[in-house]
Every structure is written in C-alpha cells, then in structure tokens.
Amino acid sequence: MTSAAPTTAAAIARAVAAGTTSAAEVLAASLHRIAALEPTLHAFVEVWADRAQAAAGRIDRDRAAGVPLGPLAGVPIAVKDNLVLAGEQASAGSRMLAGYRSPFTATVLERLEAAGAVLVGRTNMDEFGMGSTTETSAHGPTRNPFGNNLVPGGSSGGSAVAVAADYCPLAIGSDTGGSVRQPAALCGVSGLKPGWGRVSRSGLIAYASSLDCIGAMARSVEDLALWLDLAAGPDAADPTSGPAAPPVSASLTTRGDLRGLRIGVPWELNGPGLDDDVARCKDEALATAASLGAEIVDCSLPAVAHAVATYYLIATAEAASNLARYDGVRYGLRRDGLGRLDVMTTRSRSAGFGDEVQLRILLGTFASSHGWSEGFHDRARALRAQLRADFAQAFARCDLLLSPTSPVPAFPLGSSNDDPLTMYLCDALTVPASLAGLPALSLPFGATTDGRPVGMQFTAAAQREDLLLQVGHVLQRHTDHHLRRALP
C-alpha cells in the first residue's frame, strides 16, 4: 500500500463505502506489496490472487448497484494456514496435509467474507502450531521485517508479518499458548487472543482443544474490536463456542483515560529472566498507564512458576490424541504399507510429521500413558485449576494484569532449534492466560536499543474483551508505538 492509501481495516472499509477508493484498488496495492517483499519475507504459503480479485470485483459491483456493503468491505485479510476455506488448500504448515483441499469453510472465515472481507492468502506457521518461531513449518521459515535474520515469532508468524509488512491491515491467527500474542510482539503489531470459546473454532485444524483460540493481528486496537464483533458469537458447528456477548466496538471510545482502573503487576511475570530492554519497556508502559490515571498494584500468581510445564504436558497430551486422526486413510499423506494397515499408518505419520511434531506427540503420549499420567498429566490438570484460582484472586483486586508478552525480543533464525526446553520457556508469559482461558491483548510498546519491537500483554477476566480493547484504544490514542513501521 502507498502511504496515501488508508492503512487500517476500518479506514479502508469507510473509504470503499464512500467511493473514495475501490476494493479492486486496495487489493491491487496489497498484491503489489506482496509481490515486492515476499521473496525476502515469505509470510505466505499461497496467495489467492484470483479468488481475491473476484471478491473485490463483487464488492465494487455491489457498491455501484447500491447494495449495502458490510463493515469489512474491501479489506484484504491474511489467513493462517490452519483455517480451512472450501475448495482451497490448507496444510497447517505440514507435509502431512500437502494437497489437502477443504470441503467446507471455517465459521470465522464465513463471517468475515459475509462482512465484505477479501481473503488474500494463507500464511506460514509452525507445523500444527507447534513452535514459537515459524521455523518448524514444512514450507521453510518466515523472516521478520525488522531484520531478515530474525524470527517473526510463532506459531502465527506469517500472519504477524503480513500485518507488519503492510500487506494487509488485518490477519487471522490461532493462539494455543501465545501463538497470536508472541509473534505480534516480535513483529511490532497488536494481537488479540479472545477468551476460550468466544470465537467458533469450526474449521480450525486442531492442536490442543482445551487451549486453541482463534485470534487476530492488526495495527490498531480499533481493527481488532471490529474483527471481534464480526467473528465472535455462538455457532452450532462448534459446541464449545460461548454465548453471545455485547459488541465491543460500540464501547471502544467510552474511556478518555485510565482513571479508576487498577492494573495488577504479577511479580512472577515481571521479574528476573526478562531481557534488559524488555524490562525497560515494561517500566515505561507502567509509567504511561499511571500518567493516564491508572493505579498500579503489585499482585501474585504463584502457580505461574509451573505454567510452562503445565501447559506443555496438557497441550502435548491433547495433540497426541488430536493428531491420531492422521492415519493415511481418509486424507493426508499415505505411504505404502506393504499390504499392512498398521505399517501404512506408521510409515505415513513418520513421513508426514516433522521433528518437533513427532517430539511433542511422544511427550504427550508419555505424559498421558499408564504409569506416568499420575505424576505428569494429572499434576498438570491440578496445577491448571490452581492457576485459574490464582487469576480469580488477582481479578478480585485488579481490573487488568500487565506483563511483557515475551521475555525476549526477536532473536536470530536457527538459534533455538537444538534445545526445545529453551524454546518452550519463551512462552512463559503467554501460557498462563491460555491455561485459564482468559482474553489477552499484546500491544507494541517500545523497542530494544537496536530497534527490535517489544510487546506488552494485558490480560483481563473472562468475558472482559471489552475492557481490554477500551484500555488498548486509550493507550494507542496517547502513544505512537503502534505506528512504528519496519519498512517504508
């Protein structure tokens, strides 16, 4: 997009509705930028140029005919490669699903298309969401626009880069333990993980069902609110989707400042182990919130000390079960079994799954197996209950909790591949909200001395996405961190 063009989803939809630009012009600018930068960044696995041009053409014809346009009319949106669209491929970043074409469309994508969104392509991701760098993708790594030798975070790294590189103002991701918030932080964009069940997961390729959430990334909190109002709500196709909630966009501007708001700072998420620049940005974020009238209070979430272990034992046990469906029979990769079904299944899975996925399936199989589940998986479930109780206690005293999103900024590609435990510890600040099913928002809030973005995470009580987005909107009206761009 050129600098003169509207750069937020809300502004694009307004301009298309007013006729000051067309959906076709907006899409052409998006595709032009993708063509120029993709050889370096590799955010997309596939660009749906023809499909997107057809959608943009329909919107422009509707406008010319006087048909009322939807609230996302003409807005280009990138979609993570684990959300399915009828007739299009979806691979979840895996060789296992190479060539798979979905027979149906994910509910969240149906709702966005009904609102006029133009889906431009599927974005790169860690295989089945299992990674924090987008390097475990079978399609090769994605690069961070703030440094081509840096990871974009993960697992929704392609979606974060699609927004950070101004391909699209809005991108859809999924967040199991931080996979929307962490790449948003590492790429300098805003990312929302709604509470568990707020957005239907029908059509999301499963990783860990008690944790998986569909989320979004954008430049502005206003766009995230617009997205949530369209995406959220009950869905007969997903029995875990929650009841309808009041729209958040209407209340987005109800606060002029943060007076009357108590922001809790859990010391377990804000203590030792933070990169120096990240700690400095956190102090600056707290000072900004205080200057806008928020009361800052100390609080504690003791069970957070074990959150990474708790998360990985639960997530991998669920993944071992969910990924049992890839047996080479109904869809996905099949290898010859020399006439035997069990050999066919074992060979297909061994050839289709990458190293990290196989490691996590083995870990989850171990943690939930006879003789070991009591000491590992059952303990993890008990600690999950304890963590949820800790959050309830904190929210009895505070309206929101604040911590950095990631303990470290973007790091070089290839630097975490040999030590899975070190990579898992990068998720230490995002997995607590996932385990408790709470909504959380990552906002860009400063940078390291060498210019890498730093994100701050705000966590709210269940069903309080409205408060989260109101506060984010106030902060973005009074600061300009979210306007900083990696590329001209």
Binding site: Y100, A309, L333, R384
Partner: protein, 98 residues
C-alpha cells in the same frame, strides 16, 4: 511420586508404537535426549501441593449442546481427499485374513 524418568530404549520403543511413529536408530538417541531434558525440567511439578480441589481438563466448562441431526457432506466431496478410494469407500490394505 515418580522420579524424573530415564527413558530407556524399551520405553522409547513402546511410546513410538503407541504413537504409531517409526523412529530410526539414528534419531532415537537424539529424541531420547531431548525428551529427558524436557521431562527433567518439568519434574519439579510433581512435588507441588495445590490447594485447588478438582483438577480441570478445560479452560471453562461448557454445557453440552442439544443433539441435532444435520446434512452430512456428500460422499464424493469427502472422498475427494482420500489417498485411495473405491466406489463409495476409502480403500485400505486388507485387515482381515481371507
């Protein structure tokens, strides 16, 4: 409470069979070392006393929805992704001896 486990060859082989994965002899020691490192890091969890009474398996409980019949996908649509099919069926190697 069990100690941090040592994953001997037999246990690794058992896990691989349960998970329907073939681990080559070259990869086995690498995977074993990684799993042992992860489990050693996670073992502290075993000694933690929790006050919360009931372990939970979900982020927030949901009531079960009403059971409703709906139209299934057409057979041809479902079979379009099948690695091998015959008529209206998925084709797999024989599992019952003739």
């Amino acid at each position: 409470m069990p100690n941090p486990p040592s994953l001997d060859r037999a246990l690794m082989q058992h896990l691989a069979e349960l998970a329907r994965l073939h681990i080559s002899p070259e990869r086995m020691p690498i995977l074993r070392q990684r799993l042992e490192r992860i489990l050693a890091g996670f073992s502290a969890l075993q000694g933690v006393i929790t006050a919360a009474s009931t372990p939970i398996a979900e982020a927030s409980p949901r009531p079960l929805r009403e059971d409703r019949a709906s139209e299934p996908l057409p057979v041809a649509t479902v079979l379009a992704n099948a690695p091998e099919s015959a008529g209206s069926s998925f084709l797999v190697p024989r599992v019952i001896d003739a």
